[in-house]
Amino acid sequence: MKTLILGLGNPILRDDGVGIKVAKEIGRRLISSSIDVREASVAGLGLLELIQGYTKVVLIDSIQIKGGVPGEILPLDLNDLKHTIRLSSPHDVNFATAIELGKKLGLNLPREIRIYAIQVEDISTFGENCSPSVEKAISGIAEKIIRGENLAPSVPAD
């Protein structure tokens, strides 16, 4: 059983990079050869290429929903994305479509795909640091994901 922790986002667009920071924090705390931690700035077909061969994938990304509290986690799964199965951008296909494609092609896709979306505040300013409320939440989010996905053993946070 091989698990991939995949942090997504743009690391130089403040809170947009929170998924990558959380994934790195998880990677720092885990000691297991069966877990890979990676970061990526891709979507759609690019994601499909990255997740092949893993039994389980945990995606961590940023989200902005109305009324959301910065730093809050929204656990999602593929069913939450089902309604978007169509060409939604002139530039790429969305993740749900890519997964459907992978299934049709018989690719070796993960049995389980978990998605953690982190509510963010600022995704329009260039910078390597998250906004204070999101930055403060990173350690706690990493711990919650480790526990929620049974990713132990882990080492304590600093």
């Binding site: 077909l45 060409l87 939604s88 296909v93 479509t97 092609l105």
Partner: protein, 416 residues
């Protein structure tokens, strides 16, 4: 890649030949990766499934249903190959970390070279297959040929692209050539002189600027010889050349122009076809570079010794000519930046294409649901990267079409 070249220019350094070749090799893989996605996942649904097909079927899943699962596997495999090559050279495929002022951060070894050579041979076979798919599914269908060559998706503009010393296609280095509506050379310039040739018009209703040919002048969103509107991206690039320097791609280039009625072609939807011609060129060039004796050379960097000042870097990005211009202090800290990106340069043409498609498709108060997609096809052909061009991140792509009568009363609104 443009930024890497701009930094070399800032430090006034000419990089070693092997480093140029490695960068070009990387860049061919990048071009293939992008063009595969656009042709199969984005334009493919319009031509393989049909421009007015049910939106639920008009996606890559519909394409696979029609052309077969095996083809889907080949698409994914070759996308992964292109990523792999970029990873070998650049450390990682997205946001690579290989370009340094003066060259590259690491060389490739013989084992990596062999891997790349094998993948390049596979790209050529896949490009042959893709060109055949264009023949069978698109050219074999009169409705599609009429759609591509008809007036609804046509503009007579200037075209810009990078060329080598023989005016042939080059993605990585060369001069910038502009041809007019008859395919004659209008101007050719060194990338560093781009500000003498490109002006930027601003409209209050758009985040994006409207680059235009300064010496022709801004005449609004109109085509023709008196308007400075020009186009970049695949077909524009091929229009701006006198040929392609590899044999199979040259053959495909000649065939394309024969079907389109000569060069230049003004058919916006043919940008999709031109991508496959370019994919063949990138595949052949990639193989040439992978077999080049110098490609495993360790002589990949010279250490800059000059004081950094100012520099321009220019490449052909998949979506068109890309300019990076940096001004730095004497320690190399950037003080000012100017970027002219491909989607920005196609901003005016995209607006014109949407208008013309709408005018051509709405007749006698008949507005069909398929109109949304057929208008989208007009700007999708440019493969716009709007998030990059405007620095906004819309996530989804909402589309709303409002149709007004001649007295400007709202007649109908379609949206998704």
């Amino acid at each position: 890649m443009a930024s890497g070249k701009a930094v070399d220019a800032v430090y006034h350094v000419d990089i070693p030949e092997a480093a140029k070749k490695l960068r070009e090799l990387f860049y061919c893989a990048h071009m293939i990766h992008s063009h595969i996605a656009h042709f199969y996942a984005l334009a493919g649904p319009d031509f393989v499934v049909g421009p007015d097909a049910d939106p639920a079927k008009r996606n890559i899943l519909g394409v696979i249903e029609k052309v077969g699962l095996e083809v889907g596997g080949e698409v994914i495999k070759h996308r992964a190959y292109a990523q792999k090559i970029q990873e070998i050279i650049g450390g990682k495929a997205t946001h690579p970390v290989c370009n340094l002022p003066g060259g590259m951060s690491k060389a490739i070894n013989e084992e990596e070279r062999k891997q790349i050579e094998e993948m390049a041979r596979s790209f050529i076979e896949f490009s042959k297959f893709s060109l055949k798919l264009v023949d069978d599914l698109i050219l074999g269908n009169k409705t599609y040929v009429d759609l591509i060559t008809g007036d609804t998706y046509r503009h007579e503009t200037y075209y810009m692209g990078m060329v080598d010393e023989n005016n042939r296609l080059n993605f990585y280095d060369g001069d910038v050539r502009v041809v007019n509506q008859r395919g004659e050379e209008y101007t050719k310039f060194k990338p560093k002189d781009y500000l003498n040739h490109i002006g930027e018009h601003v409209e209050p209703w758009s985040y994006l600027k409207f680059p235009y040919l300064k010496n022709v002048g801004w005449k609004g969103l109109v085509d023709g010889a008196d308007s400075g509107i020009y186009r970049v991206n695949s077909l524009a690039r091929l229009n701006a050349t006198e040929g392609v320097p590899t044999p199979l791609a040259q053959e495909a280039y000649e065939k394309m122009y024969e079907v389109l009625g000569g060069k230049p072609s003004h058919a916006t939807l043919a940008f999709n076809w031109a991508r496959i011609v370019e994919m063949m060129y990138a595949s052949e060039r990639l193989l040439e570079l992978a077999c080049d004796k110098e490609i495993t050379s360790k002589d990949i960097r010279v250490i800059p010794t000059e004081t950094p000042t100012e520099g321009v870097g220019c490449v052909e990005a998949p979506r068109g000519t890309l300019y990076h211009h940096y001004w730095t202090d004497e320690e190399g800290m950037i003080e000012k930046v100017n970027l002219i990106v491909a989607t920005g340069q196609n901003n005016g043409p995209m607006c014109m294409s949407v208008k013309k498609a709408a005018q051509g498709l709405i007749k006698k108060f008949q507005v069909k649901e398929a109109l949304l997609n057929m208008i989208e096809m007009a700007f999708r052909a440019y493969d716009p990267c709007l998030a990059c061009a405007t620095h906004t991140l819309p996530g989804q792509m909402p589309l709303e079409v409002s149709i007004y009568d001649s007295k400007k009363n709202l007649f109908k609104r379609l949206k998704r």
